[in-house]
């Protein structure tokens, strides 16, 4: 039968293909690691600044720092929501970029996996950074990431409406409640904040919780219950719309812009949109504290830059140079100014606040701002979930603030 030979050929091809494919595929992964003595001409960078204008601001700073270090930058920007899953994928396939940006509450989570190199290995100075910034970048006593600029949240108010109603910007909870009630009329609410069931809802609640002495380690305390009572009272008496349960920070800003909320809890990244509306006159004060004399403690936001463990010393060294350069005084001041964020070195604060008066309140707050992961580290996500669950339970009236916190803490 002469077809026998001919027919066996497709079989051979198929077998070769099946056996060969995995070898081929696995081969792709090993190409990345190479000797440490090579000269490095290009390093890869990954961040989540995928929207303008931040995309260009960060891109320009990266390019300039790359030129200084003698390397070109191969940059990839991914959407914020997919950054962590991308990082996890890359760490399992050992294809992490040379420079990696992380949102600060995620840093300890990623550092705990062993995927990041301590910045002390590259002699990067951590002097003068605000304590909150350092604690966000630290895991088990080693600094893994530094943020050139940071942010936090404060109370924005509509100057015109407050003046018309004869209300001065509040500084205590009682004043806040009185002002919010007075400023509520028709479809205009006194205050807007975000209490949605995500980490954003937790983040917006932290200023009142922390300023009153509440602690994220155990939320079943009198101090935290008082803070949650404030949030509940504001929603219950109608000074805050119950839509807060589903708003994002961007929605809160839209309410404020539309004149439907006279005050709002929000961050400096909203300033460009607020400034676009020329008729809007707004001011910024610290989020009120329960009693005059308490210190306002704000949560620290912002992104840190890290050097992943790629196994290539030469590339890591170049990457570290770029991270150090991004965190230099000049870059901190320049980036903070264009991006409406705050330089993370306290030594730059006075100068920066003078030059950028509309960011003065935020600059003041950053000095004492607290990192979300400062105490709990990798345990933060679980506890943050409990906090927003308690907020939602109390605000929907399913339980009193103290019961809601007790239930959530016990979960």
């Amino acid at each position: 039968m002469k077809s026998a030979l001919r027919n066996s050929r497709p079989l051979a091809v198929a077998v070769t293909a099946l056996v060969g494919l995995p070898i081929l595929l696995s081969g792709c992964g090993t190409a990345a690691s190479s000797s440490s003595t090579e000269s490095v001409s290009e390093i890869s960078v990954m961040d989540y600044y995928n929207n303008e204008p931040d995309k260009s601001f960060i891109g320009d700073a990266l390019t300039a720092c790359g030129t200084k270090a003698g390397v070109t930058i191969k940059r990839e920007t991914v959407p914020g929501k997919s950054l962590i899953s991308k990082v996890l994928q890359q760490s399992s396939s050992k294809t992490l970029p040379d420079v990696l940006m992380l949102d600060n509450p995620d840093l300890q989570q990623i550092a705990a996996t062993g995927a990041l190199a301590p910045l002390a290995d590259f002699n990067i100075s951590t002097a003068d950074f605000a304590p909150g910034v350092l604690s966000a970048g630290t895991y088990k006593d080693k600094v893994y990431g530094l943020a050139p600029t940071v942010n936090t949240i404060a109370l924005f108010y509509n100057k015109d409406i407050l003046a018309k109603s004869g209300v001065t910007p509040p500084s205590t909870w009682d004043e806040l409640k009185a002002a919010a009630t007075k400023l509520t009329s028709g479809d205009q609410y006194g205050l807007a904040f975000n209490a949605n069931p995500t980490y954003e809802g937790t983040w917006q609640f932290l200023p009142v919780m922390w300023s009153n002495g509440g602690n994220e380690k155990n939320i079943d305390t009198e101090e935290t219950a008082q803070a949650l009572q404030l949030w509940t009272d504001l929603v219950k008496d109608g000074s805050v719309s119950s839509s807060a349960l589903n708003w994002t920070q961007a929605d809160v800003k839209d309410q404020f812009l539309a004149g439907k909320a006279t005050m709002m809890v929000n961050g400096p990244w909203q300033i460009p949109s607020l400034d676009k509306q020329a008729s809007l006159q707004y001011g910024v004060v610290k989020i009120p504290v329960r009693e005059a004399g308490q210190t306002a403690v704000a949560p620290l936001g912002g992104e840190v830059w890290t050097v992943p463990q790629t196994g290539n010393k030469a590339r890591q060294a170049k990457a570290a140079e770029v991270v150090a350069c991004l965190n230099s005084d000049e870059n901190q001041l320049a980036m903070a100014k264009v991006r409406n964020t705050i330089p993370s070195k306290t030594t730059l604060a006075a100068k920066f606040a003078d030059e950028n008066p509309k960011l003065a309140t935020f600059t003041e707050l950053v000095k004492t701002a607290r990192a979300r992961t400062g105490q709990l580290g990798e345990e933060w996500p679980a506890q943050a979930t409990k906090i927003y669950t308690a907020i939602q339970t109390a605000l929907t009236g399913k339980a009193s603030p103290s019961d809601a916190l007790k239930q959530a803490q016990g979960q």
Binding site: A14, S92, Q109, A112, S241, S243, T385
Partner: protein, 342 residues
């Protein structure tokens, strides 16, 4: 997938599906190969040809089997294994995932949230399927009539299907907003409600609102399949029925419904499987809130894995959902087999 049904030439003459006997009859494409068919005693040549044929049968199967194993088998197995491990972010870098047995299942099932999510999943699924099916069927019957713009209207109804879910949910989130939402404005203008209805922020209304949006999204699927099923019913049946006085409701009850039954069971079971795993709509509308009143097993599993990084627990909960879906998948297979038989 079986060898005997995939390849016609392998069906033995006596019709018994025995893989050992496969290849006894030469296939139509190979009729000229010279061997005498129907020989009682297999010659060595014949045996080698049989073996070769079996080899080819397998070769035809290999691409499908590899594809299934790679893209369906591997993820499922991986997910099952993951659910027995303490799988954290560190696992991705170190590859270490300590075996914890049933601990993840115990944590997930004993969580106070599980009963809430299970009940919500049930209510969400039943509510969605009921609404989608009834409205879908009503529209399918309506579009059976011939009237101007029938085709255009029917294709417009497909729109919810064509929109990305994240877009639909963003738009609905705005429509359902308490203070400035289009729905409340509309109801307010007609004097139906005085104050804004907190569609998405009331613990008693949020699930209803989410079900409503999911019904809107599911109507095109039900409409299309049921409309197709209705087209299959021969007109003669209605003509004959009308002679006997079966018109209107009677015609539906005694002709349409029995004839449509096989399609109906397929639509319902597929609908249940699709609805059980709905994630993006709920995340887009309410994120599971307020106070977990729209939290389903799917959203909770997502939150565990991708927000709290407890991949083991997320996988365990995901598997529970898979098992629930599997029950309905088996029902579907039985229903579709019956549909073919009928």
């Amino acid at each position: 997938m079986s060898l005997t049904t995939d390849l016609p030439q392998s069906t033995p003459p006596n019709g018994k599906p025995g893989p050992g006997k496969a290849g006894a009859k030469p296939g139509p494409g190979r009729a000229g190969s010279g061997d005498g068919a129907g020989d009682a005693v297999p010659s060595p040549r014949r045996r080698s040809r049989q073996r070769r044929e079996r080899l080819f049968q397998w070769l035809f199967l290999v691409p499908a089997v590899v594809y299934m194993a790679l893209f369906f088998g591997y993820p499922v197995v991986k997910n099952v294994v993951m659910s027995f491990q303490d799988y954290t972010t560190a696992t991705f870098f170190t590859g270490e995932a300590p075996w914890v047995g049933l601990a993840n299942y115990v944590t997930v099932l004993s969580s106070s949230l599980f009963s809430t999510s299970l009940l919500n999943t049930a209510l969400f699924t039943v509510g969605s399927i009921l609404g989608q099916f009834v409205i879908g069927l009503a529209l399918a019957i309506f579009f059976q009539r011939k009237f101007p713009l029938n085709g255009i209207l029917r294709s417009l109804l497909l729109l919810p299907w064509l929109l990305p879910l994240i877009v639909s949910s963003a738009v609905w989130r705005w429509i359902l907003d308490k203070d400035s939402g289009a729905l409340n404005r509309f109801l307010g203008d007609f004097g139906i409600v005085d104050t804004g209805v907190p569609w998405l922020t009331s613990t008693s209304l949020a699930l209803i609102a989410v079900v409503g949006v999911n019904i809107w999204i599911g109507i095109p699927f039900n409409l299309t399949i049921l409309y197709g099923g209705l087209q299959e019913i021969p007109d003669e049946l209605y003509e004959a029925g009308s002679l006997d006085g079966a018109t209107g409701w009677k015609a539906f009850r005694h002709i349409t419904w029995p004839m449509l039954r096989p399609v109906v069971s397929v639509v319902l079971v597929l609908g249940v499987v699709y609805t059980l795993k709905v994630l993006d709509i709920i995340l887009g509308l309410t994120n599971g809130g307020p106070a977990n009143s729209t939290q389903t097993i799917a959203t909770q599993s997502y939150a565990l894995s991708f927000q709290e990084f407890k991949f083991g627990e997320g996988a365990a909960l995901g598997n529970i959902l898979v098992i629930i879906s599997l029950v309905f998948a088996v029902l579907y297979l039985r229903a579709s087999r019956r549909a073919v038989d009928e």
